[in-house]
């Protein structure tokens, strides 16, 4: 089995052409990027607003509840209801994008909101008391402090979108999902497994890239990478919680 999968993955002819792995991979990455970008543009400002004002928390609960809606069912429903009203290829693209955006919004929204909510009230009070305007408090204190949780929401959305974008192939869009569907239809095990492996690899690579970006954009002061309290240096990379008292000594 494994040799046949390997052969499928490494055969040069499988990689070229509009039905080849290269193109399918590009489509998959393209859809995923588009979906996450749209979801982020909606969920991040919304999460910041809810966290900053403390108003509209129900929005977060409601979107979390909406996670229970099965994406595949939603995709078919949208394709049947919305599709006919949209001309051309967009009739397939739009329902898929909407279904996946709805999938990606909850983790980003929850992460952003939870991040802002978790900002130390004393830091927020000090920011205001030192003369920051509400906008400055949001941009200079709440957002940077919320970044670790916001970013983990984003990473989880990216993983889910990459994994779930395979279903877009059901309604005629490309992407790596094509190999799974075609492989199953043709009882071509190597193609099915190869496609699944590619989806996994893509997800891992995307998560790795986001992890690296996180190191650059998140301040070491809130990332847990540099934590030292009362003379005890904790091993870098090990998150010991927020200055775990059990591991510290009194100065």
């Amino acid at each position: 089995m494994i040799p046949t999968i390997w052969t499928w993955l490494t055969s040069a002819q499988n990689w070229v052409g509009s039905f080849g792995i290269g193109n399918r991979l590009a489509q998959h990455v393209g859809y995923s990027l588009l979906v996450v970008a749209i979801a982020a543009v909606i969920a991040i400002p919304l999460g910041l607003w809810v966290g900053h004002t403390g108003r509209g928390r129900w929005v977060v609960s409601a979107t979390n509840a909406a996670r229970a809606v099965p994406t595949l069912g939603l995709l078919f429903a949208l394709a049947l209801w919305v599709g006919p009203h949209i001309p051309g290829r967009a009739a397939f693209v739009v329902p898929s994008v909407i279904a996946l955006v709805l999938l990606a919004i909850p983790p980003i929204l929850a992460g952003t909101y939870a991040g802002v909510e978790a900002v130390d009230p004393a830091a927020r009070d000090a920011a205001k008391g030192l003369g920051m305007t509400p906008r400055q408090v949001l941009a200079r204190v709440e957002l940077p402090c919320a970044l670790p949780l916001l970013w983990s929401g984003l990473r989880s959305a990216v993983l889910q979108v990459i994994a779930t974008a395979t279903i877009a192939a059901y309604i005629g869009l490309g992407g790596l999902g094509r190999f799974l569907i075609d492989g199953l239809a043709q009882a071509d095990y190597a193609q099915t497994a190869g496609g699944a492996i590619l989806v996994c690899l893509l997800a891992l690579v995307a998560d790795g890239v986001l992890a690296l970006v996180q190191r650059v954009v998140v301040s070491p002061g809130v990332s847990g990478r540099r934590r030292r309290r009362r003379g005890i240096i904790l091993a870098p990379g090990k998150d010991m919680g927020h200055g775990n008292v059990a591991h510290t000594t009194r100065a």
């Binding site: 030192l130 200079r140 002061g221």
Partner: protein, 357 residues
Amino acid sequence: MIRFDDVTKEYPGGTVAVNGLSLTIPTGQITALVGPSGCGKTTSLRMINRMIEPTRGLISIDGKGVADLDAATLRRGIGYVIQHAGLFPHRTVLDNVATVPRLLGWDRAKSRAAAQDWMERVGLSADLADRYPSQLSGGQQQRVGVARALAADPPILLMDEPFSAVDPVVRQQLQSELLRLQAELHKTIVFVTHDIDEALLLGNQVAVLRVGGILAQVARPADLLAAPADDFVADFLGHDRGIRALSFVGMPRLPLHPELTLALGEVPPADAPDWMLVVEGGHPLGWVRTAGVQGAVDTSDLNRSGTVASLTASPREVLDAALSSPARRGVLVDDAGEFVGTVRASELATLLEAGQA
């Protein structure tokens, strides 16, 4: 000068946090607001920089009503220190301290220079500049909080229970450093605390508030101890008022007695008094009971129970030195810590009774 004119803060539920407060906070001095929880001390403080808006009444700074100023602009001109420091965890210590200068639009270099200067003045070593707040001890965080409040050199400093979350030893250090800083800076400081001793120690004047936000008494610490306005203030001041008041009165001119002293390794003379003071290089080490010494005096013979007071100490410290000494003779030292003579509690008591203090 900050003035409260009949200021009331009432919350929508009907809770009255501050009730008809009229108070003058003099320029260049520390005014301590003290009282039990629910007395509106923090609310009063936060109304000065408009973190809370009063329901009625007027608060003014040097004659200008704070309500007429833009809130953010007003706050940038007033230092603000809070209980848990409230440092920004994502910024380094130096960037935390430089916050207000940056908000005021100073350029980066000037802001950082000011921040470095203030870090040094509050006793933070320069190598902490690049640390993050989570890497600091509680005491260091509070120092950063004070430096951050002072960075743009505002004339007013609001301090809301700034030292109540640190351990007692660090609290004492921070208190004495605040007094040292204030001696050079002469800021108008409003200091909120629930600890009456902290209020008496730091305040040039102390305002005692009672539950419901009513001002019970405002007075200098010595006057407060000497003449509490009512039972509430007297109770709140607590026990040992007579003894504690001795911290705030002047030291009478007290006769200093010479003392026969010993050095380590010496043998007490045959006609030695009961207790002799052991002095090494001018510094008092402790007392020895001469009857109990076998041959030469060594450190194991020392009784260290006596406290030592300096020549500039308050009557309270001098009295304690006398009472804690096993010889009942209090040891006094000069600024260099060198022994100058002993005092008697009875003589001090006589002078205090006669009102020469």
